[in-house]
Amino acid sequence: MPRDDRREAILARISEHLGDAVVGSHIRVGDDLWVRVTREAWPEAAEVAQKRLGCHFFDFLSAIDWLPSPFGRDMDSQEDIVVKGLEPKEPAPMASGYAGGDTRFQVFARVYHPVEHWGVTFKADLPDDDLSVGTWSNVYRGANWHERETHEMFGFDFVGHPNLIKLYLPIDFEGYPLRKDFPLLSRRVKPWPGIVDVEPMPGEDEPGDGDGEGEGGSE
């Protein structure tokens, strides 16, 4: 198993500054680093990243909803169900990604070191009954808009944010569109047009449609 000494060292430095607040980590060798911190330590993680590690470049901040889509497979790929006649599958149990996770919602953000050229992705779990987390916008100014977007799309509350209003959506919009239980209505009421004109592959049997159309009227 190859080791990534550079990222191991970075992880050690983060653990040194944050202590017990680091609850999970993942290294993909030669590529990337994930660190999961507690919700309480989330603003501190930004401070450490910028002032101790020197990751001055702010990349993005967003959230993940780990709930498997309650609409099942028909939201995912109608082709499998309609064309092949498969039974819709039960949604898989909820599982989190790299660096682990215990809750449905995770906030995650990425910063980058502009001189040494490496990035680190921070994650934090948010319990369902209290979707609030400290703001990053007083450390990284660019987090301001990203937190507004996450606020409207996932319904998170960023404590200490100077101007937490909707960014894209109208003021009276209800619901949180990027949550998995927010239905994509256009897909619910009408199947995606792409599946209507599925042509059989060469070699497969032509389904007889009996309406006399097709193949350009050879007689």
Binding site: D76, D80, W145, Y168, R187
Partner: protein, 392 residues
């Protein structure tokens, strides 16, 4: 001894004083809210700016995006991986092909495959061609927004050559949808390499023309130099990228510093330009040099293009293994990345699109404080955003 003034006269005097002070009050402190957009030629897209003015000076200027939000992050969750490129083409519509590349690279990283060398070369050439198509239009459009319409015609004329080259490979002028997981859709047509070299000469001529016509113009320099200064630490903190960051003196170009696997920038000889001033002029100048370097990159790639297949072995139905990957490339507008979360399915579980313009425009409230109204237009023009890149 005080003169006796009738009560009615006293009241009139007080009322007149009060009226006077009210007028003065209004003149001095009550500002004006100017609503620029959503439809305004200076915003080239449906960006709305709510500017609070005091006289000619901007007190605060808050952009209000979202008039063109298309929900791509949600839509990618119901599209298979090959279908996603059709959507993301529409993010930055002036450099469409460049939008596909980081997503495809992220999917390739998760699948553990790499495109064959010839595909990597052609991919990088098309990536740079979309940079040319994008930034040539910027250089012309800048003139139009600052009152010199002539440059626009030069830009549209020469961008056409670039678009023709993109079209003859991909079949699409604006939305090629040409990149595939594991390679490219097609090989180059016959005679394309020679044609592209001629086009590169034309673009270099265009750069010289625009430099004398616009960049060296005294009026342009007066309007751009020292306007909208962004210090490097503020630029980094806002996540500015691309020429906006290099125009502030930060030497960061992901093509040189952090090239994603499958883009052969490390084998080429080219230079990253920075400018220490951080003003509107330096951002423009850095973009002009970026075009010149880009033509050099394309020339070298065309000379060294390897032979071989253009598609790796990939299954017909693409399922991407479980995992998370973030790939970021230096797009025409700046750093663009896709954070792809896969659950081993036909569709991505979650795609976070980090688009360059979103971060680049979020600095507008900071940088426009205290500037004059015409400078707002200059600052917006040189920050250079594409609406689709903000709204996604």
């Amino acid at each position: 001894m005080t003169a006796t003034i009738p009560e009615s006269q006293q009241l009139a005097y007080i009322a007149a004083k009060a009226a006077d002070s009210r007028i003065n009050l209004e003149l001095e402190t009550e500002g004006m809210t100017l609503n620029i957009g959503p439809q305004h030629p200076a915003t080239h897209g449906t960006l709305r700016l709510i500017a609070k003015l005091d006289g000619e000076q901007v007190v605060s200027c808050e952009p209000s995006p979202g008039y063109m939000h298309r929900g791509y992050e949600k839509l990618t969750e119901v599209r298979t991986y090959p279908q996603v490129t059709t959507l993301v083409n529409r993010i930055d519509w002036l450099g469409s092909f460049a939008n596909e590349v980081p997503f495809i690279l992220a999917a390739e990283k998760l699948m553990g495959i790499e495109a064959p060398p010839r595909a990597q070369w052609i991919r990088t050439i098309l990536f740079e061609l979309s940079r040319l198509a994008n930034i040539t239009l910027f250089l012309g459009d800048l003139g139009a927004q600052m009152g010199g319409v002539t440059a626009v015609f030069y830009a549209f004329r020469d961008r056409e050559h670039v678009l023709n080259q993109i079209e003859s490979v991909t079949g699409g002028r604006f939305h090629p949808n040409f990149d595939r997981i594991g390679g490219l859709k097609d090989d180059l047509p016959k005679g394309w390499i020679a044609d592209t070299k001629k086009t590169m000469d034309k673009i270099r001529d265009f750069c010289d023309e625009i430099e004398t016509l616009l960049i060296g113009n005294e009026i342009f320099q007066t309007r751009a130099r020292g306007i909208g200064v962004i210090p490097p630490e503020v630029a980094l903190s806002y996540g500015l990228s691309g020429a906006n960051l290099r125009g502030s003196g930060v030497d960061l170009d992901l093509r040189r510093d952090d090239p994603p696997p499958g883009m052969p920038y490390d084998k080429l000889d080219w230079k990253v330009w920075t400018h220490p001033d951080g003003d509107c002029f330096s951002r423009t100048w850095v973009r002009l040099q970026e075009v010149r370097e880009s033509t050099k990159i394309i020339d070298q790639l065309l000379d060294s293009i390897p032979s071989g297949p253009i598609m790796a072995k990939v299954p017909r139905i693409i399922k991407v293994p479980e995992g998370e990957a973030y790939v970021q490339t230096e797009n025409p507008l700046g750093a663009m990345g896709y954070y792809v979360v896969s659950k081993g399915d036909l569709v991505p579980f979650r795609v976070k699109i980090r688009s360059a313009s979103f971060n680049n425009v979020s600095i507008v409230p900071w940088v426009t404080r205290g500037v004059y109204v015409p400078d707002v237009i200059t600052i917006l023009a040189t920050l250079y955003f594409i609406l689709g890149d903000i709204d996604r």
